[in-house]
């Protein structure tokens, strides 16, 4: 198999991010205590890759002998991962400096995690899927434990690693079974013979095992247990990164495997995913009400949002796919933004992390509180913010797939979610308190979060900017 120039051109976003990751690694190893250099290099790397992703967005082609598929769907997903990485890097610099943990490895790990995600979204072979998941997960295990002197952070990393290792086992076993039946790991070939193999129970079990692994990565019920503990212990910007980019990567693979390669519409797999979706929406939202820590609340909220997106996957129609793709982008902006604000309010030694610590923020930090309010309203799915349109689309998909019950569960749990999202707004604006930010927020971070909020509004009012584009990605 020879590498052609078109392989290199179309996979340039992926190549760019890996090259910059390696370069930064070398620079970091040579130089001492210069995290700022890694910061700038990673920013340049992410931006370059982002620009290249935009350039190749239209052209969807298989590359490297059908190991990868670049452009189109993969390009769109790359944009989500890279935006999330960009925002996380911008937020992390100030945060890490304040927490006295500013080291260059952080940025390198973010770049590697991102390249893993990009492999997942662009995979056209089960081996590539596995490679991507591992690259992403290993980087995230380390990132979760980045505050190595803090017990919580270590606990977070260990939990994530142990449970994640199990999930990897499930994934590999599933891949093995599917390979055993179909005789190939090439997804296009599996797709061709899918109709025959799906009648084989072993193939089905293989699909089920992959479903478990992906549900774990997406933090869907009943594989969600790790999320609250890990998000709570991980550095706050990392929690934001995990809940958006890593989740998006899991969903990209979900769509790839279950909507495009398998056509699960009307099958028992679709029913199983629908139940996982409903359980995630109910459990995530109900449990979130009882949380006093804002990071745990956002963790449960993230479980619930996995449920909303899974409704789109379960519906397994074009609307579902477009809905999930839109939802992922919207969710990335609002959740990275929300975690960003949490990271500003947070103080050293895990102080200022309860909901009560936000009482009166609106009076003292009007801009920050207003941004947070926008993210909360959007997460609750109130128009005119993007979160609403995401929900509209996935519920539409569910209704269209004759799963109206799923849409009804979805709207009723949205009502529950409105309660706890609004509680934060209540605390910030309606209550007296002395919530404040101890150090002024770095301008770059503030601009980044404000831009995210603006995009949440823009995508809410003009969803067609994205939706009409993603409709073109249907077929591989």
């Amino acid at each position: 198999m020879s590498i052609t120039s078109s392989d290199l051109i179309y996979s340039s976003p992926l190549i760019a991010i890996v090259v910059f990751a390696l370069l930064t690694l070398i620079v970091e190893a040579l130089g001492k205590d210069k995290p700022i250099l890694s910061y700038w290099m990673s920013l340049v790397g992410v931006t370059t890759s982002l620009v290249l992703s935009f350039i190749h967005l239209d052209s969807g082609v298989p590359v490297f002998g059908e190991m990868l598929f670049q452009g189109g769907f993969a390009g769109y997903c790359n944009i989500i991962f890279l935006t999330s990485a960009l925002l996380t890097i911008l937020l992390a610099k100030g945060y890490l400096a304040r927490m006295e943990a500013h080291r260059g490895e952080f940025y390198i790990l973010i770049l590697f995690a991102t390249s893993g995600m990009m492999l997942m979204a662009g995979a056209l072979n089960l081996i590539t899927v596995f490679l991507g998941i591992e690259l992403m997960s290993v980087s995230l295990y380390i990132l979760a434990g980045f505050m190595r002197k803090k017990e919580r952070s270590n606990e977070s990393a260990l939990k994530y690693f142990l449970l994640g290792a199990f999930a990897t086992g499930f994934l590999l076993y599933g891949i093995a079974l599917i390979y055993g039946i179909s005789g190939t790991t090439n997804l296009l070939l599996i797709h061709e013979s899918y109709a025959v193999h799906i009648k084989n129970p072993i193939f089905l079990i293989g699909g089920g095992l992959m479903l478990i692994a992906l549900a774990f990565k997406a933090s869907a019920v009943p594989f969600h247990m790790w999320a609250p503990d890990v998000y709570e212990g991980a550095p706050t910007p990392v929690a934001g990164f995990m809940s958006t980019a890593a989740k998006a990567a899991a969903f990209a693979t979900f769509i790839l495997i279950f909507n495009r390669i398998f056509s699960i519409s009307g099958t028992s797999l679709s029913q199983v995913i629908a139940f996982i979706a409903a359980a995630s929406m109910i459990l995530g939202n109900v449990t979130a009400i009882a949380q006093t820590s804002i990071k745990r609340m956002l963790a449960y909220s993230s479980i619930a949002h996995a449920g909303y997106m899974l409704s789109g996957v379960a519906a397994a129609n074009n609307e579902g796919e477009t809905g999930v793709l839109f939802y992922l982008l919207a969710y990335t902006f609002m959740n990275v933004g929300a975690f960003g604000i949490v990271s500003w309010v947070e103080r050293k030694d895990d102080k200022n992390l309860t909901l009560e610590d936000y009482a009166g923020l609106g009076a003292r930090q009007p801009v920050v509180a207003a941004l947070m309010a926008i993210f909360m309203f959007s997460l609750a799915g109130i128009p005119p913010f993007a979160g609403f349109f995401g929900k509209y689309y996935v519920f539409l998909a569910a209704v269209k797939a004759d799963m109206t019950w799923l849409a009804i569960v979805g709207v009723l749990t949205s009502l529950i979610s409105a309660y706890y999202y609004l509680r934060l707004v209540v605390l910030m604006y309606f209550r007296e308190g002395d919530a404040d930010i101890d150090k002024p927020v770095p301008v770059t971070a503030l601009v980044a979060v404000a831009a995210a909020a603006l995009l949440v509004l823009a995508l809410g009012v003009f969803p067609s900017l994205v939706v009409d584009m993603t409709r073109g990605f249907f077929k591989i």
Binding site: F388, L415, A418
Partner: protein, 525 residues
Amino acid sequence: MVFEHILSITIFFPLLGVLALFLVNKENAPLIKLIGLLTSALTFVISLILYFRFDAAGSGFQFREYAVWVKSLNIGYYVGIDGMSLLLIVLTTFLTPIALLGTWNSIEHKLRGYTIMVLLLEVGMVGVFASLDLFLFYMFWEAMLIPMYFIIGIWGGQNRIYAAIKFFLFTLFGSLLMLVAILALGYFASTLPDGYFTTNLVQLYAVGPRMALTLQSWLFLAFALSFAIKVPLFPFHTWLPDAHVQAPTAGSVLLAGVLLKMGTYGLIRFCLPLFPHAALKFVPLLGILAVIGIIYGALVAMVQTDLKKLVAYSSVSHLGFVVLGIFAMTEEGIQGAIIQMVNHGLSTGALFLIVGMIYDRAHTRTISDFGGVAKVMPVYATFFLIVSLSSIGIPGLNGFVGEFLILLGSFKSTVLASPAYAVLASSGVILAAVYLLWAYQRMMFGKVREDGLYGGHKLTDINGREIVSLALLVVFIVWIGVYPGTFLSKSAPMARQLVQGMEGIRQGVMIRTTENRDAQSSLPR
């Protein structure tokens, strides 16, 4: 060019004020008030262009504007108005500046945020009445919750947080089920031959009646629940007294004056024409709930000790009339319901202003804290009397016209098929006289307090600004009372068309109305 987009300009004009307010120093109270008043007054002037250019004889929706919004889901920015929406839009743009003017000095902190919220609320309210696309409608309907939530939660009374959350969650509950119903309706459209998913109301008018009765019934109930909570219809009214009592005066004025109308507007605009068979099936249910609301609201109002709560419960009673008129499905009933929405906006808006004015002075609203106020505040007492009489429904003032038409319509109605509804409902008129005049008597007449202090404060009569805001309302209270034809003529064609359509459904014949023909000819796919 300008006139082509006059409706959109009306909807979004207040946003200019919002932008301007962002540029103003937040300590500069006089300028903030001026911008708020000027913007809302200009919006009213613009909406008058709509009023005068509206062709009362024409049928269907006028001032239509269509733009593709989300192509893949056939969502359009589609607005247009008929007589009913026209009246309600003008009511909204009229009440907003009056609410701001009437509560000029009531808000002392975070004035800029408050004015921004009121203007955003106005955008949402006008947008709801102008939307001809269910998606667009839903956007405005829900987005409006946010400013109202802040108005109650930040500038409200003692128990404001509870009231704000209750208001938000109650309304959201209804809306979310309506959202599923909207999706199901659009999906049904796509299952028809040559059909596609759409939320275009005018197209859906032709689609809805083709649904099987069971599906229609479910969707009707989902829509009706959402609207019944907003109206609020008994037994979904419990959020209203909390929200009203806690909201600041301008919030109450807009809440009672406009927000509640959205529920009854929705029943007429969506529930009847989209699900006619189901609507006919559920007439007894809605009729009975309306009558219970009329009597229950009035009885509870009677025993209130807090004047604001009394007015709040009187709303439950008055809007029961509107719902009864709607489900009478006669021309008189629908026309009465529409004009009664306007009337209620004017009189209850005025009543809340009146409550706010005395509260600003005495810092209490408890009826028994007052007595003999008429001697201290004669001008105030006069306005209070006129507005009370209007709310009771004395001939010559606006309330009479609406209630009379509604009662007449429900007597004649073959859909309600029993005079019992009208007979029971008319007791609401008597009860209204009891609770309002009794409260008036206890507060305004009797002996003046010996120390001249009410709630520890000395009362002064209302000033010129307050007189102007009330007088503007009274002008229309009298106008509608004496010559309602000015306004009734605007909504007559749509009421007639709606009633004919419903009659056609009853006879089992689909009457192809003008709207249906429009749907097939004039709309871009």
